[in-house]
């Protein structure tokens, strides 16, 4: 039996660093291709609309559901905290601001990574192992342009829309709980909104969601193209797309927030 030595560990560590660097390079090239293709014909609007519909269709229901319950829970939690210091008139604005800046973009991002990001990796991965991607190339069609581009554009456009829907439904949920269950005065619930909430709050959420949508779609399509062989490979690629999509949303959220707070 081989004995584990320190050198072996260091080698392993070095190996994973090299792999990380290589992977980063590949992803950078992958993103580079997006900017190469995005302004070049042929523009495949039909595929773009199909992807927009697909992402919306996959996520809309669960976005509304999560939005409603997030807003409702948030109203509850805030109310019981705020009642103690008698500022329950501020529940509406707090719910709205929390949703706009953080909860709507991040939760929508996590949902879309789990549903649409996974589906992108699975679809492209399956096409890869069944040689459909080769079939496109042999016909003289660029597989990136045909498969990745519409998905990435659709991801970038649809996540902000889903985030805004999340925000609206969330506020509706908060309002319902606040006024019907907690008996905050109906006219008062949103009355302080103008005082405390600014367009910048919404901008912050929307800008983040654009970035998340782009990243999730890049990650989903990237792991799709990385699938090597077999059904097992497709499963692994799908899994990677979800895990990395979610990790990316959570980590980049921190950095984006600290950056956007300074400039907005």
């Amino acid at each position: 039996m081989p004995i584990k030595t320190g050198a072996g560990l260091i080698e392993k560590f070095g190996d994973s660093i090299l792999r990380a660097i290589e992977e980063t390079g590949k992803v950078t090239l992958f993103v580079g291709q997006f900017f190469y293709w995005v302004f070049r014909p042929p523009f495949r609007f039909r595929l773009l609309f199909a992807q927009l519909y697909f992402i919306g269709n996959k996520s809309l229901f669960i976005i509304c559901l999560s939005g409603a319950f997030t807003g409702m829970v948030l109203a509850y939690q805030t109310y019981f905290g705020f009642k103690i210091i008698s500022v329950d008139s501020l529940v509406g604005p707090v719910v709205a601001i929390s949703l706009a800046r953080e909860l709507a973009p991040v939760l929508s991002g996590l949902i879309v990574a789990g549903r649409a990001g996974a589906a992108m990796a699975a679809q492209i991965g399956t096409m890869k192992v069944t040689e459909q991607v080769d079939a496109l190339e042999v016909m003289g069609i660029d597989s990136y342009q045909y498969l990745a581009l519409p998905r990435i554009i659709a991801g970038t456009l649809s996540l902000p829309m889903l985030t805004i829907i999340f925000l609206l439904v969330g506020n509706l949920g908060g309002w319902l709980v606040g006024t019907k269950a907690l008996m905050i005065d109906e006219t008062m619930y949103f009355s302080k909104l103008g005082e405390f909430m600014f367009l910048a709050d919404i901008y912050q959420g929307v800008i983040k969601s654009i970035f998340f949508g782009f990243s999730i779609a890049v990650i989903g399509t990237y792991f799709g193209f990385e699938v090597k062989r077999g059904a097992e490979g497709v499963g692994k690629g799908t899994n990677m797309a979800v895990v990395w999509g979610m990790i990316f949303v959570l980590i980049s959220d921190y950095f984006l927030t600290s950056f956007l707070i300074k400039i907005l």
Binding site: T130, E131, Q132, A135, E137, V138, M139, G140, D142
Partner: protein, 251 residues
């Protein structure tokens, strides 16, 4: 084998390809006759698919040249390369039909991409292509998942032929099929070659199947360790003096 240069459709000169330190194609020279059915045989891992990918310009040579219709494709790039590939039709091992499109739409796909045909014209062409590979009307609008393996191959062949390719490639067309479907696919290859004889379409087949190759090919090449070690007419091939070829034939 010596071919008259005006008969040559594909000409490979001193082709070398290595992946990292592994040399897969070693100084390969090979001419393919226009209008012929030429089969490339070889053991698994001999480099057959690698050679095919060079002919399609999907891989770039480490050194050497690939000429198709007299044009050196080894350094074509981007748009020119994609235009060039339209000379080819290809039937993939598992047909590689687009699984979200019906049989009809799969065959229509290259026509929609690369021609300005009207919808009526496309419909007429697709129907005649599908009929030529014995796909019946009631299967036109089925998805690939609803078709049998043999039917998928036939639809794949129809799609490959849609743009009237100069060169039709078959990657292991019968590997993994039952004997009856194998026979049918082989007959279809011959039939397709016949149908396109007068426009001099060339057929290139990659295969493991010696018996079928002897029966349907005009020429057979044997690839071993990245070199063509035997290349002759089908009838001469069976009499090859090469020890490895004999071993392969008598397997």
């Amino acid at each position: 084998m010596n071919l008259d240069s005006k008969d040559v459709v594909i000409s490979i000169r001193n082709l070398k390809k290595s992946f990292g330190q592994y040399s897969i194609i070693n100084d390969l020279n090979f001419d393919i006759k226009r209008g012929s059915i030429t089969t490339i045989l070889g053991f698994s891992g001999a480099g057959k698919s690698t050679l095919l990918k060079h002919i399609l310009g999907l891989l770039r040579p480490t050194s050497g040249h690939v000429f198709v219709n007299g044009q050196d494709i080894s350094n074509l790039g981007g748009v020119a390369l994609r235009e060039f590939r339209r000379n080819f039709g290809m039937l993939f091992q598992y047909a590689a039909l687009f699984d979200s499109l019906s049989a009809f739409e799969n065959v229509a796909f290259p026509l929609r991409e690369f021609t300005k045909d009207s919808e009526a014209e496309i419909s007429r062409k697709v129907k005649s292509l599908l009929e030529s590979v014995n796909i019946l009307e009631n299967s036109f609008y089925k998805l690939p998942s609803e078709l049998s393996g043999g039917m998928r191959k036939r639809v794949g062949l129809a799609r490959g032929l849609a743009l009237n390719p100069d060169i039709m490639l078959y990657d292991e067309p019968t590997t993994g099929l039952d004997p009856i479907t194998t026979k049918m696919v082989n007959e279809l290859i011959v039939q397709t070659a016949k149908n396109n004889k007068q426009r001099q379409m060339t057929t290139i087949i990659i295969s493991h199947d010696v018996k079928a190759s002897l029966a349907i090919s005009d020429f057979i090449a044997f690839l071993e360790h990245g070199r063509i070690v035997e290349y002759s007419t089908a009838s001469e091939f069976a009499q090859s003096k090469n020890r490895i070829v004999q071993e392969f034939i008598n397997l």
